[in-house]
């Protein structure tokens, strides 16, 4: 997947760039609107990561530019503006998703994947990893063709793990992914532990491999090398 990152903070841009590069994405970075416009007319991108507070203007203006030029990329807004009005405005202007700073990189990745699935793979809503099969439409998960009895949150968590294979996922990032804004009120991450425990139990019950390993002090990792 080819991604254009438009973000004026070089530190953050380099973090995102490194993260996505490690995932095998081609990631190009623009630090301002002018440069981004040049790149957008010259090259094609699958997805655009757009910060709306840019040195040479509001990133939302770029949305109308993208519409006018009929650029078919998906757009994910990453912004420090977290008010409802900004979100609504961004989504109304044609963005596919809106992620507020500070975010976790795995969360960004998961959202990116979700957008990509929705827009590019045209209804290909089934994600398969070895014996695990996830249907993002019906929210059904099967292990060795055996349907798991899992809750919606557990499904989302498993999907999050599969999307971010071999990455350390902190309890915070899992909580943020599953609960979004509600984590503001939930400082206790016990429920993350509970959900992970449930998933592991259910996968094992279906004779699946327990790919999830605990990373001491940090969180969890979906370890594909586990057999």
């Amino acid at each position: 997947m080819k991604v254009l990152l438009i973000e004026d903070n070089e530190e953050l841009a380099s973090s995102i760039h490194d993260f996505l590069a490690r995932e095998g994405y081609i990631c190009e970075v623009s630090y301002n609107i002018t440069d981004a416009q040049d790149r957008l007319v010259s090259f094609q991108y699958d997805c655009i990561l757009l910060d709306i507070m840019l040195p040479d203007g509001n990133g939302l203006h770029l949305l109308s530019f993208i519409r006018k030029e009929n650029i078919q990329s998906s757009i994910l807004i990453i912004s420090a503006k977290n008010s409802l009005d900004d979100k609504i405005m961004g989504l109304d202007e044609g963005a596919d998703d809106y992620l507020t700073k500070p975010f976790h990189l795995p969360e960004l990745h998961a959202r990116l994947k979700a957008i990509y699935r929705r827009k590019k793979l045209n209804g290909s809503n089934i994600i398969i990893f070895n014996e695990i099969c996830l249907n993002t439409d019906t929210l059904e998960a099967t292990v060795n063709d055996q349907l798991l009895d899992i809750t919606r949150k557990e499904f989302e968590l498993l999907l999050y793990f599969v999307v971010n294979k071999n990455r350390v996922l902190s309890r915070q990032s899992i909580a943020a992914h599953l609960w979004g804004d509600y984590t503001d009120n939930l400082s206790n991450f016990d429920f993350v532990y509970q959900h992970v425990k449930n998933i592991r139990k259910k996968i094992s019950a279906a004779q699946g491999t327990d790919y999830i390993s605990t990373v001491y002090g940090l969180g969890y990792k979906f370890n594909t090398s586990k057999q």
Binding site: N9, S83, P102, S187
Partner: protein
Amino acid sequence: MKLVDRFTLWYLGINVILIPVCSVITYYNIKHQADNGAIEKLRAINNKVASQVQRGVQPSPYIHGVAIAVIPLSSPLPEKTEEVQQREIEEDPELKQADTQLLLTNHYKINGQHYQLTATDHVLRPQQLRAGLLYSILWKLVLLVFAVGITARLVSKYILASFHHTMSRIQQFSLKNKQKLTLSATNTEEFKELNCFLTRMTDKAIEDYASLKEFTENASHELQTPLSVIRSKLDLLSESEIHGQQAKLIGDMQNAVEKLSRIHRALALLTRLENQEYDKREEVGFGKCMMETLATFRDLIHLKDIQVKSYIQPVKVKMHPALVDILVSNLVSNAIRHNMRGGYIAITLNDEQLEISNTGRPPEVPTQELFRRFKKSNQCNDSIGIGLAIVKQICDSSHFDIQYEYVATHHIIRVKFPTEEPSSKLLQNDALILRENPVVVTGMQ
């Protein structure tokens, strides 16, 4: 009482006292002047008669309607040659009514013979004068009341025009419009001062509000980016080759960043609430929001093995839709977080109030204090202690009354909706149906 009425009353009050006093002065002045004129006239007549007598002409008993009495005297000339007398006649036979006569007596020595000449004339009677004055006082007062009453109103409209204009402008003034107060020019010194003061004050308020808002926005934007950098670096770091001890350190850092971000978001929200950025009001379904929130927290409730009993009616309230969500989710998550394993939550929502009661450890500080920022009972050290402050602020801005009690091992929070607002009433038809079949959710699993 209006300003113009006050001025009018004072002015009339002063006149009611002053006009009679002035009339008394007028009375004595007129009387004195009239008498003096009459005396002058009588003296001239006496002198004329004396000269007639000297010339040996027999004087007529009336000259110019003035009665003259000439009396030869044998006694020597008195020292005072002139004497004024006033005489009241109860019933004058000629005039057929009461009369006042002025008598001027002069003594002359004519041809060696002393004469006493007395001229008698009618003068204005004090009663007549007093009656005339009384009428004039009454007329003056009546005219004054009318004239002052009407002109004061007209003039005050004109004079106070700039004041009224200022008042209406202040009433329309709103900080959020960021529009400076423009007041009409006036020639009145006091209004000039008032306008000047108001303009200065409102300009300052607008400036302060703008800078506060700017600070809040900057704080939220500019702080979130570095936080985002830290978070992303920590995410990257956690994927590198690290040992257990380092992982623990990174984990702690992530926790701290998380908490910082939470505090920061909560404070930014609180400031926005205080700045009344959420005063757009529309009818929102409180009951629907309550149900949705409960569904969102279902997993958490389940994880903690909490029993939930809810009686929720489709109440509608008038407030900002985002606030309902924040209010409800804060209260519900509080009830879950401060609960114990296998605890109990009861939620009752009707057109009068929302009551959430939950089991939990007794609070260690007075319950009302928990509405203050960073005040928290020690039950849960992870909480940042702003949730209830936000709830309180939302309630204040929506004119809800909120109470927090701890009764018989239960934490009870009551949010009372204003009764006079018809919009807070529930939809009557739906209510009836629901009253008959209250929604009971037990142990939402």
